[in-house]
């Protein structure tokens, strides 16, 4: 394993929080009485799938050289932006904003995804600056 940087830890923590959180902590609404799912459930599944990818990249980053890490950070940044757009933009959530998918899942996913995107972009920019010196 290469030397750990602050961004390595931040990206790994954020992507893990997103991946586990969307299933265990800030999940979408439960099933309806007849057992069928509302559309917010599929938004949750999509966020979970993308966040697994993000977490995998964050783990692989730990074993990469600085320049390669920057590329992975950029990929995570773009995936962060895409993840933030999944709930209610790409996949519409439930009808009432007091429902769990709006009140809890949406803000939590947007905050964690945007923070991942910012951290990834910052790491990429910093590595470009370091490379230019």
């Amino acid at each position: 394993m290469k030397k750990l940087t602050v961004t390595d830890v931040i990206l790994l923590v954020l992507s893990t929080a997103l991946c586990l959180g969307v299933k265990l902590v800030f999940h979408a609404c439960g099933p309806k009485e007849d057992g069928s799912w509302m559309t917010c459930h599929w938004a949750e599944q999509a966020v979970f799938a993308v966040s697994i990818g993000m977490m995998a990249i964050a783990v692989v980053r730990l074993f990469l050289e600085r320049r390669e890490k920057a590329g992975a950070a950029l990929a995570m940044s773009l995936m962060g932006v895409m993840t933030a757009l999944i709930p209610n933009v790409m996949i519409r959530l439930c009808m009432m904003s007091e429902m769990r998918c709006h009140a809890v899942m949406h803000p939590a996913v947007v905050i964690l995804s945007v923070l991942t995107a910012i951290a990834g972009a910052a790491d990429f920019v910093l590595s470009r600056k370091e490379g230019g010196k």
Binding site: M38, M95, S97, E98, M99, A103, V104, I111
Partner: protein
């Protein structure tokens, strides 16, 4: 140059700087978050008072005795109750009534998108004086049969079609945020709601199976005429009209006002206690930090720094770390409350309306200023002490 030294000192000791930033961030998080919570609850209550807009509300007696009236009218829990239209006519014939209008309630069955029902409120645009003025802000035209106006919290937009009990309804407008249960309700005209009530009866999905939708109302709202007191008119209705209960709307929200006062007082006390504790902790933190750095300050004195320079250095470090922490804490508080306001509202069970952007900015600035005052006041004591150190004694290790 001096500022550079303060910045370099902070960078050189990342753990010490991190702890100072964390302490000030927690302090500003508490102050800004607490103030925003109280302001939002107060705005919500004011909005609820404005939305009720009537002096007296008359409901069927069963609604009052089942104690579901406040749940439905104030908390927004979907529900419905009906009384014959004759009672409305009898109330209208009494003295002391300036304005009177009937409303009709219906709770939607869980529709395709959601597992929870939506409250549908029907009103008569000819006589209504509580909902219409507020709908006019978003929609100036007359509602046609089949048209609905949706509250701000509903994930439906102008032009959408929503289906209730098999009846397609066209979304004509979306209302501004009010911070009350109106945000998650659907409003429509008398004709449309009667159509929906009839459809719910046909499908056997209405608790009141034996009513005629054309001859029932849910509530009657009244504004008292000049020269009459609200109590007088309310008592008159309760005595002369059978099987109804007239209540003063001010009394209905007195419970919410009491809860709000209790919660805001508690938050206020917590803010003061946390601020006081914060000052004490910062005082200790700066004091320990300065004690640890006595030799460093003595060395600075030897190379020509004045007592004033040393005090200024300590103050600059305090302001820089305090500012960083205060800004972080305030940003987290504003972002957190803005993002999770719906979840907070659900937990509190009180009307909740976020203050305007200007008020949020003002609260943020005041919070940052309060934390900076606490930080600099705590650092000032240490700055005074360090400006009076005896360089020779410290360098000889005797102090």
């Amino acid at each position: 140059m001096r500022q550079n030294l303060a910045v370099r000192n902070l960078k050189a000791k990342p753990v010490r700087t991190g702890i100072l930033i964390l302490l000030t961030a927690l302090l500003s998080l508490m102050i800004c978050g607490g103030t925003l919570l109280v302001a939002s609850m107060r705005s919500g209550l004011a909005s609820l008072e404005a939305r009720l807009g009537a002096d007296i509300m008359v409901v069927p007696y069963e609604a009052k005795t089942k104690s579901n009236l406040e749940n439905i009218v104030l908390q927004g829990n979907p529900g419905y109750f009906y009384m014959p239209v004759e009672r409305y006519e009898k109330i209208a014939s009494l003295d002391g009534i300036a304005q009177i209008s009937a409303q009709f309630y219906l709770a939607s069955a869980s529709s395709g998108c959601c597992s929870i029902p939506v409250q549908i409120i029907g009103f008569d645009p000819e006589t209504d004086f509580t909902i219409t003025p507020w709908i006019r802000r978003s929609y100036a035209k007359q509602l046609q049969t089949g048209d609905i106006v949706v509250g701000n919290d509903l994930n439906a937009f102008v032009g959408d079609t929503l289906q209730f009990y098999g009846v397609n309804c066209h979304v004509a407008a979306k209302l501004d945020k009010t911070g009350t249960y109106y945000d998650s309700a659907v409003f429509t005209s008398v004709e449309t709601i009667r159509q929906l009530i009839a459809s719910s009866l046909e499908k056997g999905m209405n608790d009141f199976s034996d009513i005629d939708p054309q001859s029932v109302v849910s509530t009657v709202l009244i504004n008292v005429a000049e020269g009459y007191s609200t109590e007088e008119v309310m008592n008159d209705i309760n005595i002369h009209v059978k099987k109804v209960k007239a209540v003063q709307t001010k009394e209905m929200i007195s419970g919410i006002s009491a809860s709000l006062k209790g919660t805001s007082d508690l938050i206020g006390v917590l803010i003061v206690v946390v601020w006081g504790l914060g000052v004490v902790i910062l005082l200790l933190a700066f004091s320990m930090s300065v004690n640890e750095r006595k030799r460093e300050f003595a060395a600075l004195r030897v190379i020509g720094a004045s007592q004033r320079n040393l005090a200024s250095l300590v103050m600059q470090e305090a302001v820089l770390s305090g500012l960083a922490g205060a800004v972080c804490g305030t940003v987290i508080a504003v972002m957190g409350i803005t993002a999770f306001h719906t979840a907070i509202e659900e937990q509190l069970g009180l009307p909740f309306l976020m203050p305007s952007l200007g008020k949020q900015m003002l609260t943020s600035i005041i919070s940052i200023a309060a934390v900076l005052v606490a930080g600099t006041a705590a650092a000032a004591v240490s700055a005074y002490r360090i400006s009076r150190i005896d360089t020779a004694l410290i360098l000889r290790g005797e102090q």
